[in-house]
């Protein structure tokens, strides 16, 4: 077994009747990693998490921590700590008592406990004067920090997070995301995080895994997933995209010629590997990789379209257009010196849209 792997799941399955809630052939988390499980609701991410933490028994398969089988151990007998979605702070205890709880139940002496709580308060950016504050007097963001500090006080190797930021407003969430990354770096603990927000996952994680319908769709670094999504679902999950159904008709090393089943025309794409001649696939082009072509401008791929909307998004301008009955999204940076060709474009105009061969991603059908 790889030395680096702290948590592994093998052939892990949870079945309710005939419904497969989660089916994970292999999953591992490296020591000290910030690993995120992300997926829409009903994707099985919570079921997977509960099997990893020990609150749900798997129907089959194995969970190991440092090579030790923990599949049938309850959460409290695993070297892990959970930060609950509702945080589960004890309402009848002060901030200090909450954070000191893990030390309290182990009989740590008062002075030592206090010192440790103080240093944890500092770590989560809370004033040490909060020691005696009541939980009810703390704001939502403060409670998040207290819950994390309490989990850190338990001093276990792995900390699980079950969507702790989902109830927090956008700006505070961004701040807490950065702080969480700092805490992760500072403590060197292994963080396993569950969220439905891909943005959150991409921002914080070293690696993430995307789930859908109980199965893992793709695992990798944020960059891997952004640049090489394995299928349309993953690509779609990352934001609005343009998708064309295509068939590979020619291959020249890494350069493919594709025939579009929708427009009848041909496209070209550069791909890393795979995709034999005759295969059908989806060509994904992100809005930011598409641009409006000027008259007579050449491009690897070009199609004609009619603009239906033009939206000013601040740093970007988004165009919605229609081509052969398909809705296209094109995004351009709004710069002061943006060329007048784009600026003049508005609803109803006939335009040519283009993208380069390496601007499209070919994913499995």
């Amino acid at each position: 077994m790889d030395e680096d792997r702290i948590l592994t799941a093998t052939s892990l399955k949870k079945i309710y009747g005939s419904f497969v809630a989660a089916d994970v052939p292999e999953l591992h988390v490296n020591k000290g990693e910030f690993f995120t499980i992300v997926g829409p609701s009903g994707s099985g991410k919570s079921t997977l998490l509960s099997m990893l933490t020990g609150t749900t028994l798997p129907s089959s398969g194995k969970v190991e921590i440092r090579g030790q089988d923990v599949t049938f151990l309850p959460p409290e007998r695993r070297p892990t700590t959970m930060v609950f979605q509702n945080l589960a702070l004890f309402p009848h205890m002060s901030v200090g008592q909450n954070i000191g709880f893990p030390m309290d139940v182990r009989g740590t002496d008062e002075a030592k406990k206090r010192a440790r709580v103080m240093s944890l308060l500092e770590l989560v950016h809370l004033p040490t004067s909060y020691y005696d504050k009541a939980i009810a007097q703390c704001s939502g963001g403060e409670r998040q920090r207290i819950a994390i500090a309490r989990a850190l006080a338990n001093d276990s190797e792995i900390i699980f997070f079950d969507e702790p930021l989902s109830a927090i407003d956008y700006r505070l969430r961004k701040t807490l995301e950065v702080e969480l990354m700092e805490m992760h770096r500072h403590t060197g603990k292994t963080f396993v995080y569950v969220t439905h927000s891909l943005e959150e996952a991409m921002t914080m994680s070293d690696r993430l895994t995307i789930m859908k319908n109980g199965k893992i769709v793709q695992t990798g670094t944020a960059n891997d997933i952004y640049t090489r999504p394995q299928n349309e679902f993953v690509a779609q999950f990352l934001g609005e995209i343009n998708v064309f159904t295509v068939q590979v008709i020619n291959r020249n090393d890494r350069k493919l010629t594709l025939s579009s089943t929708e427009s009848g025309g041909n496209f070209t794409a550069v791909v890393p590997k795979g995709h034999e001649i005759g295969n059908t696939a989806k060509l994904v082009v992100r809005p930011e990789n598409m641009r409006i072509l000027r008259d007579g401008e050449n491009c690897d791929n070009a199609i004609e379209a009619i603009v239906s909307h033009r939206l000013m998004l601040g740093s970007r301008i988004q165009y919605e257009a229609e081509a052969f009955g398909k809705r296209l999204i094109i995004e351009e940076l709004s710069k002061v010196d943006v060329d007048s060709a784009s600026l003049a474009v508005g609803a109803g105009d006939r335009i040519r849209v283009g993208w380069s061969s390496d601007g499209g991603i070919l994913v499995d059908d």
């Binding site: 700590t81 589960a88 702070l89 004890f90 009848h92 709880f101 009541a134 939980i135």
Partner: protein
Amino acid sequence: MTDRVSHHRSILARIPVGYLFGLPVVLYLLLFFVGPLVYVIALSFMPEGLTGVSLTTTIGEGENARQVLTATSDNYERVVEAGYHRALWTSIKLATISTTILLLICYPLAYGLAKTFGKLSPILTLLFLMPLFVSETIRLYGWSLFFLKGGILNGITATLGLPFPEMMFTTPVIIVGLVNIYFPFMLFPLVDDTLVSASRDLGASRWQTFHKVELPLAKPGLVIGIMLTFVLTLGSMSESQILGGQNVLMIAHSVDFAFSWQQDWPLGAALSVLLIVIVLASMLWLLSRVDFDSLFRRL
């Protein structure tokens, strides 16, 4: 005319609306709670034989006649002399025992209903609540049929070839009745599951979780349950009358007896006042043990 109307309005307008809305309740309480209470207290200081309150009595005749204050503490002395304090003691004892038993059975029951019985829980809850729809007296006679010689218990022991336990008209049977009747008033509020999971996850043992998390959070609810059952059992009467016969006298029984059979109203009033003082004192003591601040500072 118009001037007077507007004048009236301005007086009414000066009274805060909340007070006006509170007025009916205040009047009701004064008339039907404070009034009778004061009357009973006053009655308890009247000499034996009086069936009403008169503050002064005329002593002597003719020119020597003078008015003296009627108040006397005789009745309270008679409580002890005639041994009524024993009934009071019996009531306190039975109330304490029944409350304790209810306390001990309600936690496992609440826990079971919430976590173990699963789909059976609603049915069981209904079964527990069902007796509430049957009159207390009928339920108590049901118990007496159960315990009586030739009753259900007797039938069971006879079938099993065991000797019949003569339990009717004893203290344990009254306690069975009290526990059964006042059962719905004791509650054990269960704590949010994730708090228990969190506590266990953070290294606390089952016992530590119970006494550091579950019990403190359930305490306010428990205190209210204790107060309700204790006050109600302390003032209960039919349980001891129906299941205890004349063997076990509880204080409420004595009060009833003094007012009705003995026609000794001042004595009945004195017994009532003692009961009220004991209830009040025990409730104040109990309330002082709970931090209601923490109750209202909940998340």
